[in-house]
Symmetry: C2
DNA sequence: CGGGATCCTACGTGATACTG
DNA sequence: CAGTATCACGTAGGATCCCG
């Protein structure tokens, strides 16, 4: 198997207002009711999209089905193992569909599920923000780094 | 200092189409031109929002200024160090503003900058998606985990 | 209260080799 | 081609102590 236990994060959020304020309300209101990260949608879902790879893979898959190695090339910089792990995770979460063609050599195609596709739009919003404000961020960094030691 | 080197990721994306397809176009088109992660807006920005903390902190800050320990409690589960590191990162990126009141005991307030605020909306889109589809994701996981060994 | 400095460990990650 | 298995490393992150 490839990395069994995902990490048994089990802190005590009993007093935490994890899903914070206005958005907390939007999300459904947590705080005292949330027992673990899994109970907080924001965390649960974002923890997965958190790792750059998942995000990039979904983005790439938004263009249509792709084969493993093609995907690997297009994403770029991802190791075979991480791509596999990432795809398994996305598949597990029902965002990606994996199809194996019993040919030789084997052919495996990955594509977004309906659920996965519904995620593309919100992700695009963030991506667009990134594109639009990339310069501002870089400028801010430069400024910050040129300050006192 | 707190964690100097951010991580010298310097792979060779020369052939990679990092910002993928349709969104790649939207983003500005990379591929052969991109030399490092820093050149890809999606990666550059998302790598920061990637870690759950940044995302959650910004979300919380969207409700208004907060003091350090208050923020720590509200986010929940974050260690003092990580909150500090996270806030420094956000400050560096120009998303968060840090104000120190020279009182005793010290009082430090964090609030979103204009740039930070502009990020709230796209983040909300993702958050809303998470809230809406959390059940589907959990269901998918349960299904996946009950399959063949 | 806010946070800097240290120490220490787990696990994420890449490189490599093997299979069908 | 599409993985799986193994190993070895780095660093992200938690715990702690202390200072202004």
């Amino acid at each position: 198997m490839v990395d069994a236990a995902p990490a048994p994060i089990e802190a005590d959020w009993s007093e935490a207002d994890n899903c914070a304020g206005a958005l907390g309300a939007l999300v459904g209101g947590f705080g005292a009711s949330a027992r673990s990260a899994a109970d907080c949608p924001v965390r649960d879902v974002l923890d997965r999209l958190g790792d750059a790879w998942s995000f990039l893979v979904v983005l790439r898959l938004a263009d249509g089905p792709v084969r493993f190695n093609e995907l690997k090339r297009q994403v770029g910089g991802v190791s075979q193992r991480m791509l596999t792990v990432t795809l398994r995770g996305l598949e597990r979460d029902g965002l990606v569909d994996r199809t194996v063609f019993p040919t030789t050599p084997p052919r495996v195609e990955y594509r977004l599920t309906a659920l996965g596709n519904s995620l593309v739009e919100p992700m695009t919003a963030l991506t667009r923000w990134a594109a639009t404000n990339h310069d501002s961020v870089r400028a801010a960094r430069a400024r910050y780094d040129t300050l006192p030691a």
